[in-house]
Amino acid sequence: MSGRTCVIRRILIANRGEIAVRVIRTCERLGIETVLAASAADMDSVPARRADHVICIGPAKSSSSYLNVDAVIAAGLGARADAIHPGYGFLSENAKMAHACEAAGLVFIGPTEAQLAAVGDKLTARRLAVAAGLPVVPGGEARTPHEAHVLASHIGFPLLIKAVGGGGGRGMKQVHAARQLDETMDMAIAEAQAAFGDPRVYLERYIAAGRHIEVQVLGDGEEVVHLGTRDCSIQRRYQKLLEEAPAPNLSESLREAMHGAAVAFARRLRYRGLGTVEFLMDCERETFYFLEMNARIQVEHPVTEEICGLDLVEEQIAVAEGRKLRVSQAGVKFSGAAIECRINAENWTQDFRPSPGAVTRACFAVGEGIRVDTHMQSGAKIPPYYDSLIAKLIAHGKDRPAALARLADALVRTEISGIDSTLRMHRELVRQAPLQRGGVTTAYFEEFLKSRAAIDAGGVR
């Protein structure tokens, strides 16, 4: 840490979709100029219209545009930007990107190159967690099919294959029996190469009755504060669908232990930036394991913003400028509960088949305690090249029941037509008793789908 400070006046946003709009909103408020780095497929997107300027960084295929470090750096220099905001996904956790920014004299709005390398390699992160005194799930690297079988015999089935370069739910596959191991390894390696440019994978024991709980942290290179927990247990195939803050039905001692573990991990790294330490809570044993650290802003960050009243993009920019944290741990005050639904362009009644195309109408709920983060407007197009997230509907209330009631109302008022979306699924999901009670495990969503399929089958007869 050099201790240098600078002032960021113009930011190149190297991302797309709702997070690009999200970053632009904060920049507008702070009086920072924005230049959107967009692929040819996104040159007329909502963020492209909203940014002060847009610059084309390559063709639609993300490997030639959003994942192309040289193109993004060239755009940053061409746009005379002071800094690059990478959003989430794409180059946000790429150590080469952080290095290239530094070499080009651009501020990378994120952690240091060394920190990204350490937590980006999920095996290194596991070792660091152990060194910081955090418990980890049994597992390890598998370089060959033989190694995988040997390791699997120690771990037992079912197990998970995870991409070493993965994270954020991408690049994970479940294996139920030894005979599926080779085939699933091939698929996992192919996806890891395609998504992260790194074919390495590792194995971990699959914990059936687990909750996915994470802690938001913010560091300036010396000091680290936590901004509370989030529960992201509503998942399908390791993709989060609904998240909330704080994690409900959690003993205060366990919550404090998680806060402490997350801060200990980040402190050990002398972490600078916004990050999330993910834990898997074993409900049967009332304990938790370190999963990974995400060294970027996350999709579900709004629920934390709603309960602690901070603008996390603003804080990211502040620490990237080399400034000290502007909040102390004692100064972080939590208020109420917030829940977020991810609305995806998918047909949930047909195995979540992606549904790219043109949105003919996008009409969202508006009002007290309701927030919508989206890149949709009537007439907007959803290209087939990128992920399927189209909007996040967030409700905040004085407590969890109030937030849930507000969310349920907001979902009913929201309308997206022209493509298939998961909006109706969320309307049903938020009415379910287990969700209303709170604290479900990651197995819950599949049960919800099955129970619903059973109701449908009953209706046909």
Binding site: G78, A190, P354, F364, S378, P384
Partner: protein
């Protein structure tokens, strides 16, 4: 200047105190429609300004054209009506990137002339970062691989053509 969430909140507060059920506001930069619904309000807004490009995207657009200068209309791997008689066309379930092998550098799932069973995986199509297996669904022999590896294919584009085993042998199996 675009409308902020704070602006919308202020407008909404004013509107909520009136008897109006709908407000439509349009400038050359944005449009905003607020409507009273059962349990609250809805917002339909749009940014109407054109994007302001810093540089002309022309050279990049040229670079995006496939080698050989083929225009999109004449891409050979896009489905056409000339289905070969008796052959079964295996089509892309979704628009996406076609992959012939499970991972870069490894052997393709199938080659021309290869035999396939009902559950043989023929290829992968990557859509929105998800790998979708393309399964044969019939027994037969691969006659043609119509899509190029790692290239984008439209939904329903013909990926492969397969000569099915005769109906007689299918029934007796």
């Amino acid at each position: 200047m675009q409308l902020t969430d704070g602006d919308v909140r202020v407008i909404l507060e004013l509107l909520d105190a009136t008897a109006f059920n709908e407000l439509h506001l349009e400038t050359h930069q944005f449009s905003l429609t607020l409507r009273r619904a059962e349990a609250g309000w809805t917002e339909e807004s749009a940014i109407l300004t054109a994007p302001a490009p810093l540089t002309a995207p022309a050279p990049l657009a040229a670079a995006a054209t496939p080698p050989g200068g083929a225009s999109v209309g004449s891409l050979p791997w896009i489905a056409d009506a000339r289905a070969v008689e008796g052959l079964v066309e295996i089509r892309a379930p979704l628009p996406g990137t076609f992959y012939r092998s499970p991972k870069p550098g490894s052997a393709p799932f199938v080659e021309v002339g290869g035999r396939v069973e009902v559950d043989t995986v023929l290829a992968l199509v990557e859509t929105m970062k998800l790998m979708n297996s393309v399964v044969a669904g019939l027994r037969g022999r691969v006659i043609e691989i119509c899509a190029r590896d790692a290239e984008f294919v439209e939904q329903h584009a013909v990926l492969l053509r397969i000569a099915p085993d005769s109906i007689v042998s299918e029934a007796s199996s």
